[in-house]
């Protein structure tokens, strides 16, 4: 449904502002995450610093959005689609803030790694990283276009993220086993990989929120899961 504008213009503007803030916040998360992946793969400490320093921008957006949502609820008592817009914004911003944190954590660990990593390893990080970047872009698109189909697609593709995370974990374990000198860096890389996978999970949350926002119903059923053995410790 494309909605007519509200009779009260300032209400319309407030809702529009909220939605715009969320889109910009999402854009910042995209940048943070792609830079974090680039930094770890290229061992680029300056870029990692960028990611770390810019995280406050994302944090501030979360606070800002929370205030806007509280104002809307207190002063406008939103109903139906407006209520879903408002509540969804609050939930999405908290998932996106976590995405920012996890990207920052990848950057922090990057700075603790002081040498170039083997190609097979960086390639497998890059592979899952790229997929998650695509997921992030798609889920933000699903929000801007209010498209439950794109959201559902993201939700279903998380299975692939799990699979690639697994491959990546295997590479890290190979790296750990190959030389006991690798234990320190290797353990950081385990966390980096896990962080990427968790970002993927936050994106499926966002996908669920967008789906609910548009349809007013919940995405049904269990999300398809990829091979989980290493990531979750399940067989």
């Amino acid at each position: 449904m494309t909605e007519k504008p509200h009779t009260v213009k300032s209400y319309e503007e407030q809702l529009q502002h909220l939605s715009n803030d969320l889109v910009i916040m999402g854009g910042n998360c995209e940048l943070a995450f792609s830079n974090a992946i680039k930094a770890i793969c290229k061992n680029d400490h300056a870029l990692a610093d960028d990611v770390i320093n810019n995280d406050t921008v994302i944090d501030n957006f979360e606070t800002q959005i929370e205030q806007e949502v509280v104002n809307l609820i207190a002063l406008r008592q939103p109903m139906a689609i407006d209520l879903r817009e408002t509540v969804t914004a609050l939930k999405m911003s908290s998932d996106l803030e976590r995405v920012g944190d996890l990207a920052k954590n990848i950057a922090k660990r990057t700075k603790l790694i002081k040498k170039k990593l083997p190609n097979e390893l960086t390639e497998s990080i890059e592979r899952v990283g790229l997929l998650v970047q695509k997921q992030l872009k798609s889920v933000l698109d699903s929000y801007t276009n209010r498209s439950p189909d794109i959201a559902q697609d993201v939700w279903e593709k998380d299975e692939q993220v799990d699979d690639l995370t697994n491959n990546c974990m295997e590479e890290v374990i190979k790296y750990l086993k190959s030389d006991s000198e690798n234990i320190e860096y290797g353990s950081h890389l385990l966390f980096v990989t896990k962080n990427i996978e968790r970002i993927g999970d936050h994106l499926t949350n966002v996908a669920e929120q967008v789906y609910f926002l548009v349809n007013g119903t919940y995405l049904e059923g269990d999300r398809p899961k990829g091979s989980q053995s290493i990531v979750t410790g399940e067989k």
Partner: protein, 251 residues
């Protein structure tokens, strides 16, 4: 269970049709809210439910209104008894030009509901307490009802309506002249009353409809556009027109 069933109800004021083919079920011991823009026919529909439209000369009602499965639109209906069972609180408070006490005691008296003066006193006190007015008027029960403020008069009318213990209470914007505290008291009263009564309330406050009712019907230009659980209507209505109205996009 359905307390009231409206079937193919059409209402005309002279040549002008005010309601078109309304079909609506009203559940027993629940609160049903009627919402919609001014002039859409909410009050007209409410008045169908106790034949109050009879008193408007040019008004003609077609179709069936069944209460407890009995069609009240048939000739044989005893309208006085009907209105005892189906009480009403109007959009504008309309106290009798009598004392506060008499405003309340009148109904129970003529219906022979009290055996003694003490019992009648008790009914008056209970009704005023339920309508959240007792504390303000208990020392001036012999003053005229018309001497109260607008909000107090409205609560007096609510007390009067409940004094005869009706099965159904129709309320037409009962809180439009009330301050937030009195409004909260009336909403609390509605919650209380629905344990024993069926309530139909017309309100222009979306949040009030959402708070007090279990079912909501949305009227527009004399048609019932959508009716369903209040939860559904305010979270995710089926009709675009309903959503436009409740979210303030009507123009």
């Amino acid at each position: 269970m359905n307390k009231i069933e409206a079937k193919n109800v059409n209402v005309f004021y002279g040549e002008k049709q005010a309601l078109f083919d309304i079909n609506m079920d009203i559940q027993e011991k629940q609160v049903t809210a009627l919402i919609g823009p001014s002039g859409c026919g909410k009050s007209t529909f409410l008045r169908c439910l106790n034949r109050m439209n009879d008193v408007i000369d040019i008004c003609k009602v077609e179709g069936e209104i069944k209460i407890n499965d009995y069609n009240i639109n048939q000739k044989a209906t005893d309208v006085v008894r009907l209105r005892e069972k189906i009480g009403m609180v109007f959009q504008k408070p309309n106290p009798f030009p009598k004392t506060l006490y008499e405003n309340i005691s009148y109904g129970p008296e003529i219906h022979g509901m009290a055996q003694s003066k003490d019992e009648l006193d008790q009914i008056v006190e209970d009704s005023l307490k339920k309508a959240a007015l007792w504390n303000e008027v208990k020392d001036r029960l012999n003053e005229p009802g018309t001497g109260l403020s607008g909000g107090q008069q409205q609560r007096l009318c609510i007390a009067r309506a409940i004094s005869v213990k009706p099965e159904v209470i129709l309320m037409d914007e009962p809180c439009s002249a009330l301050d937030p505290i009195a409004t909260a008291q009336i909403e609390e009263l509605i919650d209380e009353l629905k344990k024993e009564h069926t309530i139909v309330i017309v309100t222009h406050s979306m949040s009030q409809a959402a708070r007090v009712s279990q079912q909501t019907g949305f009227f527009h230009l004399g048609k019932l556009i959508e009716v369903g659980s209040t939860d559904m209507i305010f979270k995710n209505p089926n009709q675009q027109q309903t959503q436009d109205y409740i979210t303030g996009r009507f123009g």
